[in-house]
Amino acid sequence: MSMMGTTRERRPALGATLRRFSGWVAYGTGSAMMFAMTIAAAPAQAGDADIAAGRVIAVQGAAAGQPACAACHMADGAGQPEGGIPALAGLNAGYIRDQLTFFAEGQRTHPIMQPFAKMLTAEQRGQVAAYFASLPVPAPAESTPPPQSLLETGRRLFQDGDFRTGLLACASCHGPDGQGVGDFSPRLAGQSATYVTEQLDTWKAGNQRDPNGAFMRAESGHLSDADIAAVAAFIEVLTKGKDNKP
């Protein structure tokens, strides 16, 4: 079995998920009144009120007819690993907010996320970000563990980089436990291999992905496809410190 085979086999699931999702768009739950009441009470800084408002958006949609984030990212923010839909739970609020803003302003392209992000006001984006950031990092999904040799290669690349290709250690920005740093480098520990692979492929193809993507575009150029498969596999099973908030 090739290294990439593991990842490729998972990919059809994403299309299936998105097809399912397009059905959900039609019947967004009506919670406009509840949402409007909550937002009026929201303070300027992220707090309980923001999180509560964000929860309404995430679980019920921002307004009647609007889809809920949870439809794809799930109510617990675990995402759908097999479909490459990223986990959001426990990510830094500023990071989520920034990415939503990039989607909304067209600085990060994605056929699903761009229109949804545009439906939200800047305040709502901050609220939904605060909500997902407040969630505990979900337990890793049960899956067949990748080969140990693949994980060891991934561990080495993640922790040490590779001076022969110029690759910096992932840990040197995302932390030795992959928990990320503030709103600059996102938490990686436990993120699905499918999602990580897709993002690295995007950067490696020369796309910056978002206004902060120059760093990852540069690093991805030092990764072979086999390296990407290894580091993505390692990240998916990297759960140390999963109970800690970044």
Partner: protein, 324 residues
């Protein structure tokens, strides 16, 4: 401001650490594999010494020592805590764990000692040179000669230098030399460069940032950074390092002027006292910082850098477990 204007003057006392034009193709930006569409690296870069990978570490007691040295190098606070007084690691400046050309690689250092150093006026062994790192860059305590920490670090450096001749300055040693700035380095411009290109990682106050309680982005000034005696407290060294290696992973993207400006800005901040402090700032400057490349003893933002009233102490060991 007078001291800043002095930077335009060519009075660089520190010895040049590297020569040649290889740095024009900084490894960090030119190592892109062909698959990503990069052109063939310049010939000069291909001639750079290649240190051995970890997989070449031999079995047996010597190999164990090399591994121990690399572990200290990568996580100094955890593996040599009794000598570390701040939140830095060797690998914060010696990038790729001492392997990267242009970031003071350990292979380049290893074959350069014993050597006379104007800093202390005598011939230093490699081990004594390592002691200096703990005293100044790590703001810590000096391990005695022969201490297991020094033996391990020396073993690691020796391993990395495998096959490299002594007595010849290898390409990629130290930091790539940087031409003098077109305009004298400027604090205000440096502050802007810092805010735009550095603060996202190193923090708006230079305090560094952590991930899960572990310091990931090193503090650049303040009580948890290198002290005034460190090489990086020289504006020239900082500018050279920054130009070649920062922002991390995007080395070579700042202009030389930006590197000088931001190097000056960083080296104009409060940091731990010089361990050679004589009790008097002006006297200490005269003895150890008599160069336009040091801001020690100058007045910045209304305060004298090095003034004991506003300067954290040197050698704050044990580390009290902060951030580790």
């Amino acid at each position: 401001m007078k001291p800043i204007a002095m930077l335009g003057v060519a009075a660089i006392a520190a010895a040049g650490l590297a020569a040649g034009a290889w740095h024009l193709a900084a490894p960090a930006s030119a190592d892109t594999p062909p698959a990503a569409g990069a052109s063939t690296p310049p010939a000069a870069e291909q001639q750079l010494f290649q240190p051995p990978p970890d997989s070449a570490i031999p079995k047996g007691p010597f190999g164990d020592e090399v591994r121990k040295g690399e572990a200290i190098f990568r996580d100094t606070g955890a593996n040599a805590s009794q000598f570390v007084g701040n939140d830095l690691r060797c690998s914060n400046c010696h990038l790729q764990a001492g392997r990267l050309a242009g970031a003071s690689p350990m292979w380049g250092a290893y074959v350069s000692y014993p050597a006379y150093r104007s800093k202390n006026g005598h011939v230093n062994s490699f081990e004594e040179r390592l002691q200096g790192c703990f005293r100044y860059s790590m703001n810590g305590k000096v391990p005695k000669l022969g201490d297991p920490v020094l033996v391990a670090l020396e073993s690691y450096a020796y391993f990395l230098a495998k096959g490299l001749p002594t007595g010849v300055k290898p390409e990629g040693r130290g930091f790539p030399p940087l031409s003098k700035p077109e305009m004298p380095a400027d604090y205000a411009r440096g502050q802007q460069v810092y805010a735009q290109h550095c603060a996202a990682c190193h923090g708006p106050s230079g305090q560094g940032q952590s991930s899960g309680g572990k310091v990931v982005f090193p503090p650049l000034w303040g009580a948890r950074s290198f002290n005034w005696g460190a090489g990086m407290a020289s504006v020239k060294n900082a500018a050279e390092f920054i130009r070649a290696n920062m922002p991390f992973g995007l080395g070579g993207t700042l202009t030389p002027q930006q590197a000088w400006d931001v190097g000056l800005f960083i080296d104009s901040q409060v940091r731990p006292q010089d361990p050679r402090f004589t009790g008097n700032v002006a006297d200490t400057r005269k003895k150890f910082h008599d160069t336009p490349m040091s801001m020690y003893g100058t007045t910045v933002n209304g305060a004298v850098l090095g003034d004991p009233a506003s300067t954290p102490p040197f050698g704050t060991v044990p580390n009290a477990g902060a951030g580790k």
